[in-house]
């Protein structure tokens, strides 16, 4: 029983830590299926993490914070779309610049908004929402049903996104744009509009992941707090073979590495943490080498589309 409880605890932690990566991964997925390769998730999450704190601080509600974060994400998404879709600029270069912008702008604005105080500005943050009855299920009850609302949202997004992508007409249209924009175009789909929408909505989902980092697990913003999760999300998408459920599993596996290292540390078994941080990245490279020969990525991912 005790062991089960402990396992339940690990699961709880894993799920909670996976949530932001999962959100970022799902946002990236949407963009990838529209044929856009955005490596700028890290920067988008950072600016969103700050915006969430700012929103929560100025409007007194964590939900307003989330809204503002998603707005900030939308602006970043729009910027990406203007440059890569309309102007057909190199997506990788723009994504890299978005990362630089996210890091530096969040640092700057943090100072401007909250000044130099001896205490960090604390704001309203997400509270755990226990689902009655279900949360009392032994072992998994706490893990699955006593999380913050945004964790539920993240995991509910998995079936929703799957349904959208693979069971609805707009989803099919989106995927056809990512696979072959010319075909989509001849079949009457507005390729550019689809890509714009996918980028903006995708960036908003990524931003929700960023918001969770600052107002979910914590209630303040610190510089560079995303700490590579944007890249891990990028990795999760590839590892998850461009499927929402796959991303969920990938995010949980990657974060389980942290859980495992928590467990090992508590148990007093030290392995160099530097090696643990490498795991997701090494796994991704391995996944890439395995999947690369098969067509799992949308066929025209990263290639700009020119009409006519």
């Amino acid at each position: 029983m005790d062991l089960l409880q402990t396992i339940g605890g690990y699961l709880f932690t894993d799920i909670r830590m996976a949530a932001p990566v999962l959100l970022a991964g799902l946002g990236l997925l949407l963009m990838n299926w529209s044929g856009l390769l955005n490596i700028g998730a890290e920067g988008t999450m950072l600016i969103a993490a700050l915006a969430a704190v700012a929103g929560s601080h100025y409007f007194g509600s964590v939900w307003m914070g989330l809204l503002l974060a998603m707005l900030a994400g939308a602006v970043f998404g729009l910027l990406f779309a203007v440059l890569t879709v309309t102007l057909r600029a190199n997506q990788t270069v723009v994504g890299a610049a978005i990362n630089i912008l996210g890091l530096s702008l969040s640092t700057t604005l943090n100072r401007v908004l909250f000044g130099v105080e001896t205490t960090v500005t604390k704001v309203d943050s997400f509270k755990v929402l226990e689902i009655p009855l279900l949360s009392k299920i032994p072992v998994i009850g706490q893990a699955f049903f006593a999380q913050m609302p945004i964790v539920y949202i993240a995991f509910l997004l998995v079936p929703v996104m799957h349904y959208f992508l693979f069971k609805t007409k707009p989803g099919l249209n989106l995927r056809s744009v990512g696979e072959n924009p010319r075909v989509a175009d001849t079949l009457g789909i507005n390729v550019y509009r689809t890509q714009y929408l996918a980028t903006i909505i995708g960036s908003m989902i990524i931003a929700a992941g960023g918001a969770f980092l600052s107002t979910g697990l914590l209630n303040f913003f610190t510089e560079d707090m995303v700490a590579g999760r944007g890249y891990i999300a990028l990795a999760a998408v590839i590892f998850g073979k461009y499927k929402p459920a796959g991303i969920m599993i990938a995010a949980m596996i990657f974060m389980a590495g942290n859980v495992v290292s928590n467990v090992l540390q508590v148990a007093g078994v030290g392995i160099p943490y530097t090696f643990l941080t490498m795991i997701p990245y090494i796994l991704t490279i391995v996944a890439l080498t395995i999947f690369a020969s098969r067509a799992v990525a949308p066929a025209s991912l990263g290639k700009p589309y020119k009409r006519g």
Binding site: F166, K167, T168, K169, P170, G171, L172, N173, R175, S176, E179, N180, R182, V183, A184, D185, T186, L187, G188, I189, A295, A299
Partner: protein, 522 residues
């Protein structure tokens, strides 16, 4: 059977080319209407206008008497016009049903109703005698099946008029037979089919009426029963051809290239062969013409001979070596030159200067610099000389290739390849898209080479060019050689028949008239 579609005085002007010149074209409901013509006759342009991909420069389209304007493929589709392109517009990772549902706006629900769509597809397919598994992933299908999917997709989206752009080009004879059955089933149900082709037998067999295009204009529209295959051939090719020019100075020399039983399979080997058992020789000081309509294996043949593609079987002996075993680099270093078919895509590096382009084939040789460095001053000298010798119009040898006119670009390629002093020169479409002056110039260059004892393989779809320059002509049809003739011993009619899929033996044996095409196809 009333007139369902009329295209009136359609003109389409591309930069530098008048692709359609006042074309009038009308189609009756429920008929199979063939659109016959050589490459560049304007068939595809006309159909792309009809299906909304191009906008005509002038002219109008009337559908069931009503004037329509199409701004996109979708507009045309909504009015019941569906086109099956030569290059399939399908997404290989998706299922048949999904491919048919892309962009579909029917029904109010957002949900993708695969079951219902699958049921409808199956129903459609059954009604017109096609076998289709709606849940199959398109990428796993054969070419013939994919084409069926394209047709069903068009029907599914409400097409009443179906345009098939050279549908049999990618099919095996068996698949082609099945396709014809489908077309018949469709017209029995009052669908109208426009069938683009250059294959005479097919046209004769399947169509009710035929409109022949030549150089952007309509030559005539006829009931198929009023025309023999010979008539069609004459209509299609039908201009006076000059056999004047080329008089030979030297006799033809020894065998230079000896190709035996060269075959090339499609990627999926059961899909048939791209090249089928080709055997021919090229002699020193001879121009061997490879004639035929585009897409009948010419490109593959050239790619096999130049090492870009690996042949499935056979040999091509050249100076004691089998070219099919060598890499491109090795072949080229044995005094072989290659004028590729597309100067912009493969012949030149457009954003590079002329000097750099002149170095493209031989830069690695000692004569282009003894060390690891290229001797650019040498290349520049060479370039300046070539620019003069071939009178290439350019402000400087350092002009970027992309800033030259098409003729001058081609001259650069020809100059480069000829200056390599080849023994064997493989030239593919060397004059495509060029003006008369440039064509003349390049022809003279080829003749010069021949006179120097070079063996020239000239691949061209231009009948005049082939007839005028070649010492012998091989006609390719679906990867097979239909026959080998001397220009002086053949007629336009005979050439047309071979290009349309008759073997020389058949033609000469019986002066065949109206032999059912299916015999050939089986």
């Amino acid at each position: 059977m009333g007139v369902i579609l009329e295209m009136e005085n359609i003109c389409k002007q591309f930069p530098g080319v008048l692709a359609n010149d006042c074309i009038c074209f009308s189609v009756n409901e429920g008929e199979v209407h063939a659109l016959l013509g050589e490459n560049g006759a304007g068939k595809s342009t006309l159909m792309n206008i009809l299906c909304g991909l191009y906008k005509p420069t002038s002219g109008e389209i009337r559908l069931e008497g009503e004037t329509v304007r199409f701004n996109s493929a979708r507009d045309a589709m909504e009015r019941g016009i569906g086109m099956v392109h030569q290059h399939f517009m399908l997404i290989p990772t998706m299922t048949v049903t999904e491919n048919c549902l892309i962009g579909d706006k029917e029904g109010s629900s957002v949900k993708l109703d695969r079951k219902e769509a699958g049921r409808r597809l199956r129903e459609l397919a059954e009604r017109y005698g096609m076998e289709i598994d709606p849940d199959a992933v398109v990428g796993t299908l054969s070419v013939g099946e994919m084409q069926r999917v394209e047709i069903v997709k068009a029907l599914f989206r409400g097409a009443k008029i179906l345009i098939l752009d050279e549908p049999t080009a990618v099919l095996t004879p068996q698949e082609a037979r099945a396709l014809f059955k489908m077309i018949r089933a469709l017209t029995d149900h009052q669908f109208t089919v426009i069938f683009i082709s250059h294959k005479l037998d097919e046209v004769k067999e399947i169509s009710d009426r035929v409109t022949v295009l030549r150089q952007g204009t309509v030559v005539g529209t006829h009931d198929i029963d009023d025309c023999s295959i010979e008539d069609l051939a004459r209509l299609m090719v039908g201009r006076d051809i000059y056999f004047d020019a080329v008089t030979r100075q030297q006799p033809i020399g020894d065998t230079l290239l000896d190709v035996n039983n060269l075959s090339l399979h499609r990627e999926k080997s059961n899909d048939g062969k791209l090249l089928d058992d080709l055997t021919f020789e090229v002699h020193e000081g001879e121009i061997l013409g490879i004639a035929g309509v585009d897409g009948n294996g010419q490109a593959e043949l050239v790619e096999c001979l130049t090492g870009i593609r690996k042949a499935s079987s056979g040999e091509a002996l050249y100076r004691g070596k089998n070219l099919l075993d060598l890499s491109t680099r090795e072949i080229m270093s044995h005094d072989v030159s290659h004028i590729p078919q597309d100067r912009q895509k493969t012949g030149l590096v457009m954003p590079m200067t002329l000097v750099e382009n002149f170095a493209l084939q031989d830069y690695y040789k000692k004569s282009f610099g003894k060390s690891v460095f290229l001797d650019w001053s040498g290349v520049e000298e060479r370039s300046t000389k070539l620019i003069q010798d071939f009178s290439i119009k350019t402000p400087s040898p350092y002009e970027l290739a992309q800033n030259l006119s098409g003729g001058n670009q081609q001259k650069v390629v020809v100059a480069r390849e000829i200056s390599r002093q080849p023994q064997l020169l493989i030239a593919m479409h060397p004059t495509r898209g060029l003006d008369v002056g440039a064509v003349e110039y390049i022809h003279n260059q080829l003749i010069d080479q021949r006179d120097k004892g070079v063996g020239v393989v000239l691949v061209s779809t231009e009948m005049e060019e082939i007839m005028r320059l070649s010492d012998r002509i091989i006609v390719l049809y679906e990867g097979r050689a239909m026959g080998c003739v001397r220009p002086s011993e053949t007629t336009v009619e005979e050439m047309g028949l071979m290009m349309g899929g008759r073997t020389l033996d058949d033609i000469r044996k019986g002066r065949v008239n109206g032999t059912p095409a299916e015999e050939k196809m089986m």
